[in-house]
């Protein structure tokens, strides 16, 4: 561990920075140190047109120049490179044929040959280029090609010798040479990770000398992306695309970046990429990957094949086909495609890395382990393969093996932020306590373990009993639930980086959940999250992890709602507005709402909608239908086929049926809310709330500003009549609470608070206030219920627990009183002796004299002269009577 700590400082200088890495220190090398791209040469010149991505114009201008007085190598380079960028390498070779062998044009020829898969010709072209002014760069690229063709580390050894020779002659001098040094160092990082830092330095130097060198900047952006430094990667790519919005490699990197960090750009870079180069192997491989994530495996294969038109051996599309075939349970097709990919990826783990990533994205963590392990077998020095193996072992609960694997990955590449963060987390979490229940191992940080076990254990077992019965499926192993006090730690555990918006993650039989202190009170209910995640355990397990995301999420939210009325969110005005404005996918394509959201709120709204789909399906055919659906997924069937088979609905009928059901169920809400779509400041369409509900809420807000409380009550009452199920902050009920409180109408406030707490499981403070009002009106049963909800949502509130203990004691509800008293003790009160005494008192009252005696002795151990405790002890000893 100490070695890793030491490395962290080095890491900072390379890959830290940005919100995604908020657990680490800010970057020492900021983008500001890197020069912006300078203006391009002569705006109408072929080179300038090329630099700006005006490929057609550049091609025409270059050809015209070559046919006229300006038949220069530079214009030939532009012609070839522009044609390569738009996916016409063969045409490039043909149209610039007379320049073949020219040292200055040869690098462009080499790229064209590589795109065509003619690697011998490419090697020859790099060799020719080595005789020109970019000699060093050409020699590095030639060695890179040799390595890719199976030369493996011997090519890198020669590359290292090359750099040593450059150093010996006084180092690099030109932008081209610094670029070459950077590219070589980046490759040599595989043998010595410190070379990544050299690469960064040399790229910077090359860009200082020639800020227009887009290739170098693209490689820099790709390197940031490889190290999960999303912020610097995005900045770098944006710098490139600001100059050339059609730069193919930058667009491809942006597609990957968006997929990784979840951000969107106004224009889809994949569509842009395909428009620039409709035949690009990378572009079609990326498009196929998207279709795979949308579970359209056959379409993914068709898409990937389009990337094989120019080069039938291109590995990217073959890997995509292998992935699609695997997910479609076509083992033979998978093997065949993978074998084709391996023909080009000699000794490389990159196919397996991609397959492991695709598997993990599709929740097939066991498969991800299998592929990552195969990748390590092919290339043990592939840090990414090692990292994926470790991360996915962790996801399936093999913590010890995962750690040692991650340590190996870190040794190979200490600049992988994901690995570094995860190892740090494992260090910090090493002292966590494991508390077994009948079916779960609850893993909690030591300070919170006693409190969480009192609440999480019973709730987890309740979920187990309920869901295993409903689904007729029991997990094959004990379920490990890890709780995290820090949301950043939770996020690192889930995705390797801080900043994940989710509250819980299910990896099958391993669940990762935020503890209540991880978020501000009122933001979430950890109990509903635990229930939700355990429902995933069931649906993933019942389908061998082949359940589509929208089905798994929909069922999880549906189960939340069934478990407690106040859980699961319920219907909201935004859901109705988005639905009525056609801003949500129809049921038949709802998975896209999760995996390819078109706007920020689409995912969360899709959760809510998907749950209603399963409410409808359960109404139709009960759990038998849902079980049949899950069984079908387990054997590889797809949604359209299953919906037809189980419910007799084709895709169109499914969409129509649900639409009718949803609009009927929420007819009142649809009448109250409209969604109006307008274009936001960033150019993205946004849905705004319109209709009578908005009018009522606006009237309530206006009246409240003027403290016209009767008018607030009237308007808010209209709002809750229009949309009674909505009880999030800002709802009509919240206005009613404020107004009734101001009017000292406790009955009205109580009613509004009761409505909120019955519908909103996050409403801790509202429950506490309600409990106070109910207690004042001598409704102790109601007060206990409200405090119970508050205590479940936030067990760490000592005052709530103490009050709950008193009220339940008075009503002789011993189990509840004992749990509350035990929680107070577990919270580590300053006056521990008193807390133990009160626990003992409650235990004695419940008739558990043995436990009472033990706890009172613990109290007296701390405070021997505690007279009340002494009296209790004497009383316990004196007779069988409870005090």
């Amino acid at each position: 561990m100490s070695a890793r700590r030491c490395r962290v400082r080095q890491l900072l200088s390379l890959v830290c920075g940005g919100a995604a890495l908020s657990v680490l220190a800010p970057a020492l090398l900021a983008q500001a140190a890197r020069p912006a791209i300078a203006s391009t040469p002569g705006s109408g010149s072929p080179a300038a047109l090329y630099q700006r991505g005006m490929y057609d114009q550049a091609i025409a201008a270059a050809e015209q120049a070559l046919n006229g007085a300006a038949a220069t190598p530079a214009n030939a380079v532009v012609l070839v490179r522009a044609l390569v960028d738009v996916g016409k390498p063969a045409e490039a070779l043909q149209r610039a044929a007379k320049w073949r062998g020219h040292p200055e044009v040869s690098p462009a020829f080499a790229r064209a040959f590589e795109m065509l898969g003619k690697l011998d010709d490419a090697d020859e072209a790099w060799s020719a280029a080595a005789r020109g002014i970019d000699s060093l760069y050409a020699r590095v690229e030639r060695l890179r090609l040799q390595r890719d063709r199976g030369g493996a580390d011997s090519a890198l050894v020669r590359m290292n010798r090359l750099l040593v020779a450059v150093d010996a002659r006084g180092g690099a001098r030109t932008a081209s040479e610094f670029h070459a040094m950077a590219a070589a160092s980046r490759l040599l990082g595989r043998l010595d990770a410190q070379r990544y830092k050299d690469a960064l330095r040399w790229y910077d130097r090359a860009l200082v000398l020639d800020a227009t060198r887009l290739d170098a900047r693209v490689e820099l952006g790709e390197m940031f992306l490889e190290k999960f430094n999303f912020a610097d990667a995005r900045t770098t790519l944006q710098q490139i695309l600001a100059v050339n919005p059609r730069q193919p490699r930058a667009l491809a990197a942006l597609v990957r970046l968006n997929a990784l960090d979840g951000q969107r750009t106004p224009r889809d870079p994949l569509l842009q990429l395909l428009s620039v180069n409709p035949a690009g192997a990378d572009a079609h491989a990326l498009a196929a990957r998207r279709l795979i994530d949308a579970e359209q495996y056959d379409a993914a294969v068709v898409e990937a094949r389009k990337g094989l038109v120019t080069d039938s051996t291109a590995p990217g599309p073959w890997v995509a086909i292998a992935a699609a075939r695997w997910l479609a349970l076509d083992t033979a097709g998978h093997r065949a495609a993978l074998e084709r990919a391996h023909r080009r990826l000699i000794g490389s783990a990159s196919a397996e890395v991609e397959l492991a990533e695709v598997s993990a994205r599709n929740r097939l963590y066991g498969d991800a382990v299998k592929f990552a392990r195969a990748g390590v077998a092919r290339d043990a020095r592939d840090a990414r393969a090692q990292a994926l193996l470790g991360i996915n072992l962790l996801r399936i609960g093999q913590v010890t093996t995962a750690r040692s694997t991650l340590e190996r990955a870190f040794a190979l590449d200490p600049f992988d932020v994901w690995v570094k963060n995860t190892l740090d987390l494992l260090d910090a979490y090493a002292k966590a306590r494991t508390m077994p229940t009948d079916h779960f191992d609850l893993v909690v940080e030591p300070g919170d373990a006693d409190v969480m076990s009192l609440y999480a254990g019973p709730l987890a077992e309740e979920a187990y009993a309920a869901l295993t019965t409903r689904y007729g499926f029991k997990p094959s192993e004990r379920v490990r639930v890890e709780f995290y006090r820090s949301h950043a730690d939770f996020s690192v555990r889930a995705v390797g980086l801080a900043g994940l918006g989710a509250l819980g993650v299910a990896f099958g039989n391993v669940l990762v959940v935020d503890e209540p202190p991880a978020r501000d009170r009122g933001e979430f209910n950890w109990g509903s999250v635990l229930w939700h995640e355990f429902a995933h355990t069931i649906t993933l397990g019942a389908t061998d992890n082949r359940v589509p995301r929208w089905v798994s999420e929909g069922l999880s939210v549906h189960e939340e709602r069934r478990a407690r009325r106040e859980w699961g969110g319920g219907v909201t005005p935004m859901l109705i507005a988005a639905y009525s404005a056609n801003r949500l996918q129809p049921v038949s394509r709802l998975n896209d709402g999760f995996v390819h959201p078109r706007y920020g709120q689409e995912v969360i709204l899709s959760y809510g909608l998907a749950a209603y789909v399963f409410e409808m399906l359960e109404e139709q055919k009960g759990m038998a239908g849902i079980r049949a659906l899950l069984n079908g997924y387990r054997v590889g069937q797809r949604t359209p086929q299953l919906m037809q088979q189980v419910y007799g609905l084709d895709s169109a009928a499914l969409d129509r049926t649900f639409d009718r059901w949803f609009r009927t169920k929420f007819a009142r809400e649809f009448a109250a809310v409209r969604g109006e779509v307008r274009t936001g400041a960033d150019g993205e369409p946004i849905t705004e709330l319109a209709g009578p509900l908005r009018d009522a809420l606006t009237a309530a807000a206006t009246a409240m500003q003027q403290k016209q409380w009767p008018q607030v009550v009237a308007a808010a009452q209209r709002a809750v009549t229009l949309f009674p199920e909505w009880a999030e902050p800002g709802s009509g009920y919240h206005f009613l609470v404020a107004a009734h409180t101001a009017l000292r109408n406790t009955t009205g406030a109580r009613g509004a608070l009761a409505a909120i707490t019955a519908r909103n499981g996050d409403a801790v403070d509202e429950n506490i206030t309600l409990a106070g009002l109910l207690e004042a009106s001598r409704d102790s049963a109601g007060a206990i219920a409200a405090l119970g909800r508050a205590a479940l949502a936030d067990p760490f509130d000592a005052k709530v627990q103490a009050r709950l203990a008193e009220l339940t004691f008075a009503r002789r509800d011993w189990p509840a009183a004992i749990r509350a008293r035990r929680t107070v003790v577990a919270l580590g009160p300053t006056d521990r002796a008193d807390a133990l005494y009160r626990l003992a008192q409650t235990l004695a009252a419940s008739g558990d004299r043995t436990a009472a005696r033990r706890e009172v002795l613990r109290a007296l151990d701390l405070a021997p002269n505690f007279e009340a405790a002494q009296d209790l002890l004497l009383s316990l000893r004196a007779s069988g009577k409870t005090p």
Partner: protein, 333 residues
């Protein structure tokens, strides 16, 4: 010199386990020095903003009231100095300027006998912007060295010095010494945020909240531990990075602070002057000593075995306590 640091909650708990109770102390034949006088000096510095000034004044008054009414310290030995000496006229004896503080503390320090005790509680912001820790007072500030110089004549009596403000850690070094108890809100001069420590510390001393061993009195160690815990809770609950780490230095691993109560020793003498009470107290002290002996062996026993061994001793102690209740009432502070 040994220190009880905030990370050492475990240690303070351990100390608590071997604590002598007040009554056990009282049961000893009183020595001449036990009857010494206790002085309390409360200094509130420049608040900077009215809210803090009001809070400090409230704390100062609470301490002064508790000193006379709960602890039996004569009002003549309770001195409150504040930035505004006209506030609460009659209860604030002077302005908390350097000159006044030096005069008051210097005067007391020169007159203290070996049996006397001086408690100084400072409610003031500290800073160390110039590299030297200072307590912000009206007019010239004072440094830890200034306080050390003023108190230097009092080498024999017990002095408890509590600086509850920011950047107070340096006091632990500057004022430490034999028969000295120094409590600071921060562990170093670098912790310069407004401190949370003074509120719970004063609450612990002036109410029953800090009496965690249920002996009816609050020791300085109990008050410190209570405040330390309350401060920790604020940071833990809010998932905040702690900006203050309270420190206690008494040269005895907290032992001196554990037996230091603000209650005047004169009241103990009065309690023990009743023969019946003295006998009952002696009997209880003997049981308490056996409990302490058992606690010393605790690490060698399982919890079950320990509690089993503890129970008869506690029962005996409880019976002694009941007997004590039957005797004429003890003068409780």
């Amino acid at each position: 010199m040994s220190k009880v640091r905030n990370a050492g909650r475990r240690m303070t708990r351990a100390i608590g386990l071997v604590a002598l109770t007040l009554l056990a102390v009282a049961a000893r034949p009183l020595r001449a020095q036990d009857a010494g006088a206790t002085y309390l000096v409360v200094i509130a510095g420049v608040s900077g903003e009215p809210r803090i000034g009001t809070e400090w004044h409230g704390m100062a008054m609470a301490l002064a009231t508790a000193a006379t009414q709960r602890f039996g310290i004569p009002s003549a030995r309770v001195i409150v100095l504040e930035q505004d000496s006209t506030r609460d006229a009659g209860r604030v004896q002077g302005r908390s300027s350097k000159v006044t503080i030096e005069r008051v503390l210097g005067g007391i320090a020169r007159t203290l006998t070996v049996a006397d005790r001086l408690v100084v509680i400072v409610l003031a912001h500290g800073s160390s912007l110039t590299g030297e820790t200072r307590v912000n007072l009206p007019g010239p500030d004072m440094t830890p060295a200034d306080f050390a110089r003023v108190l230097a004549p009092a080498t024999a009596p017990t002095i408890a010095f509590i600086q509850t403000g920011s950047a107070s850690g340096e006091f632990a070094t500057a004022l430490a010494g034999p028969r000295r108890i120094v409590i600071t809100a921060t562990k170093s001069a670098r912790e310069q945020n407004e401190t949370l420590f003074p509120g719970p510390f004063v609450r612990a001393l002036t109410t029953d909240a800090g009496d965690t061993d249920k002996d009816g009195r609050v020791s300085l160690l109990e008050a410190f531990t209570y405040a330390q815990h309350e401060v920790e809770q604020v940071f833990t609950k809010g998932s905040l990075l702690p900006t203050e780490h309270p420190l206690l230095v008494d040269g005895a691993e907290g032992g001196r602070a554990r037996t230091f109560h603000l209650a005047s020793t004169a009241s103990l003498a009065a309690a023990a002057s009743s023969p019946a009470t003295a006998a009952a107290l002696t009997a209880r002290a003997e049981v308490q000593a056996r409990i302490d002996a058992l606690r010393a062996r605790r690490s060698t026993l399982s919890e079950d075995a320990y509690l089993q061994a503890l129970e008869p001793l506690i029962v005996e102690l409880a019976e002694r306590t009941r007997a004590l209740r039957a005797t004429p009432p003890v003068v409780k502070p």
